[in-house]
Symmetry: D2
Subunit: 279 residues, 4 copies
């Protein structure tokens, strides 16, 4: 039975990688449906994403590929499946809603196993879509204690491929981030690295900018400093107060976050050196 | 004989301003060709730019308008004329060249009285257009001494409406900036306030951004912190090294700078509170 | 008690209009919160939208304004209220969903009185938001008969300010369009006037374009030829098949339609000569 | 001595192409610097552009590659060299000037062997850059006779890689187009396929669009119907008359044309089925 596989390779660059990898595909009668390669010369890194079709013994394919790749190569052989994702939100519904509508339409190759929030404001919206909603209030709790409760909630879901911070307005500690390294996608409501931190629209207004932005990125331990997946901008003018910027900016936020999520779900995003390679 | 006048008003907001101003136009038989108003509620400031046609005793019109405006109103009654501008450059030709081609085509309502540079690299290009070129080398000179020589060169031009820093890669001291307050237009090769300072493309590359930008702004005493006139962006991806960003970014830089210059030449830019109102 | 009013004026241009109108506002102690004017010189038309606050006898204000305006002036004095809108859809949920999420968040100054569709596919989605859904199937019916049934359905809603065609994939006859002149907002999934008619993404793919677009416009009797309210574009490349264009294009469609709807709800759109003036 | 070569392959798709080609590179000790492949499934076409470095007997490499490629494969093995281009213009200087400034800065990997125009208006500008300018006036001449004279002028230049129509405002006959198939790059001042033909800005104004565009394309025998290389857009509003659209649109035109020219000079553009694949 013909299946499709995604093969992701990230390793030090050396001569003959394309030849060696494509040779394995060829001799295993795997047909290349699409193929992307990139060499980052500054870091001497090779990246390759191939989609192949055919019959594959995935373990054997994996071993054969590892045998020709440089040591320390990062290799994934993936039989596409619905990824399991959790959404985290606070009070704003636009980014969440955009994902829910796409989810309902079958546009996302994922299962939303739950939505976690520090408020119950968005429970009515989420409930409409018959997705479990978990309120883990932070009120009266130390940051660590609250986060521990959130982590327990997440643990209860079993395996999670991605956590999507769809306007979750709390800072995560290194403990949390390390538990889900390169698995947490955040939308920051500015054109990073401009306006890191709280209330970027107010900052943008104060600075008198003519363009506002939105940035989807993986979360690491430096606030708003993680690898950028997608960005977009919206033009504004002097008539925009900061609330107007916020209102208009939401359109950018939700589209950029959904775009980043889809790239991740399709295994198109490689992370290295605090940057992304996207095929 | 029918003339056109631009009337620019900037003052504290109060009731009846539009009525009082338009009443003066009406009774003086000045026809409004275009009219823009804006109230910045955060600062309680009123801005108005009217283009009127008719016969006007400019001094009398000015006095009549001042009589109905709040005290401390900033008023300009302008009979359009070619503004006198100076370009300052270092070694890159793209922003300069864009202005020269527009100038040659008669697109700019200005006279370029001279081009000043700390290198002679661009003299051959400027000479083609029969515009005086002045090399004021900074080599072997203290910053203050060099700047004094540049100021003397500028003084020799007589009245100057705008100084356009078309990729002039030296920092100006407060003495220079104060001598030409709100008259110096700079192009910064990033999406400010991201990547202030030296080599923004390298900074952008290091940060792994997916969009680069350009910002035209008036120069004040804080590096790259002056009022923003125009901004634009260009999409990039992981395949862009910083030199690629620089190459692509130049297209944005030159268009944004020329757009800002044209807005200034048409008296469309108001400055207040480190921001601009643009009609 | 202080209220806000929107005053919309559209008339032949003549001298003194700003003066005469602002004089009435001034003498009635109405404070101008925002004011936009435009003269279309090609058509000799004057447009003005003022937002004023104060106490107004709306009928008296209306009459006083009409007395100073040219004959045949189109004048509206509006005390803002939630507008009543109907959505019409077929099977795609993205544009509908975008409006529903905004509606739920209180972002739209409107009441959705119902959703009408020629299929029942989207009933489950609409029902989540407790909005009445009406299936008026076209199957087995002549176009006129079906449309008559839709019109009857619409009539049952009472007054309607706007009908939003959120991907309603049926052509309306002149009878329908005339019944709701300048009240029907459609989203066309191309950058009009390119790719009028059926399956614009397929047309765009066939033509090998590098950019696709979306256009929100009022519907008139010429297919996809009505006054344009808003447009936006999305960059594509050779790797996009027409279904990929469709998928990506949906993001543009929904944002453009929602933007046009908000402009209409805020009374910012003037229509004349098959074009719009938007303040 | 290490050289760089560009290998361009366009052929029917079949299994093992990447393997076979990369195998040849590997065994000839050619290092892949960059590699792009694309399969157009709708047309069953395979496209590949590789940049390799090493020592190559180009003729032998060519033959070895042809031996493993499907029959009728289109193959080019290119040792990069400055391409020879001719610019054709009428009266507008913006697109021409943009190319000249880039040329002077060494940004274009090309030699401009001459500029041909049906008017002498732009001769002074071109002369500044010491590039031969040829006026071939069309006045009083039948189209065929004029074109014959232009062709003779072009023939006098020897080999030409690309003819760039930088706002050449005359229609070319099939004889001309066939003589330089896939070698003529035109900038059309609209977002094709909207507004084909004369004065697209006037057409755009009449239609009341909110976005204008520019399209660079190869010229074929259907007016403005050739394969599109690059497009971009500029936002406009109701205040833009058609001359304003034209003025603003020029910025888009020149940037899009220069971008398309650079893509062509870098051998990044494949043409098939009236569309382009761009790496």
């Amino acid at each position: 039975m013909t299946e499709q596989y995604r093969i992701l390779i990230q390793c030090n660059d050396e001569k003959g990688l394309v030849y060696k990898v494509s040779s394995i595909f060829y001799h295993r009668h795997l047909n290349i449906l699409s193929n992307n390669e990139f060499v980052d010369k500054n870091y001497n890194k090779f990246f390759m994403r191939s989609v192949v079709s055919g019959e594959a013994d995935m373990e054997a394919l994996r071993n054969e590929l590892l045998a020709v790749l440089p040591s320390n190569a990062h290799l994934e052989v993936i039989a596409p499946r619905k990824k399991r994702i959790v959404l985290m939100v606070t009070k704003e519904s636009h980014a969440l809603g955009d994902i829910l509508i796409r989810y309902e339409a079958g546009e996302l190759d994922a299962i939303i196993v739950g939505v976690v929030s520090n408020y119950d404001v968005l429970e009515p919206l989420v409930s409409k879509f018959e997705i479990p909603f978990y309120t883990v209030s932070h009120e009266g709790l130390e940051r660590d204690v609250h986060e521990q409760k959130v982590l327990e909630c997440l643990n209860s879901f079993g395996d999670i491929d991605y956590i999507v911070l769809a306007k979750y307005m709390r800072i995560l500690t290194p403990r949390f981030v390390n538990a889900y390294a390169d698995k947490i996608i955040n939308i920051h409501h500015s054109f990073l690295p401009a306006f890191i931190g709280a209330n970027p629209y107010k900052q943008a207004y104060e600075r008198g900018v003519k363009i506002i932005g939105a940035t989807a990125h993986f979360v690491n331990n430096d606030l708003d400093e993680g690898p950028i997946i997608a960005q977009d901008v919206i033009h504004v003018d002097h008539a925009y107060g900061w609330e107007d910027m916020q209102r208009s900016g939401r359109d950018g936020e939700k589209i950029v976050l959904s775009r980043a999520l889809k790239l991740a779900l399709e295994d198109r995003v490689f992370v290295h050196s605090n940057r992304t390679v996207i095929f």
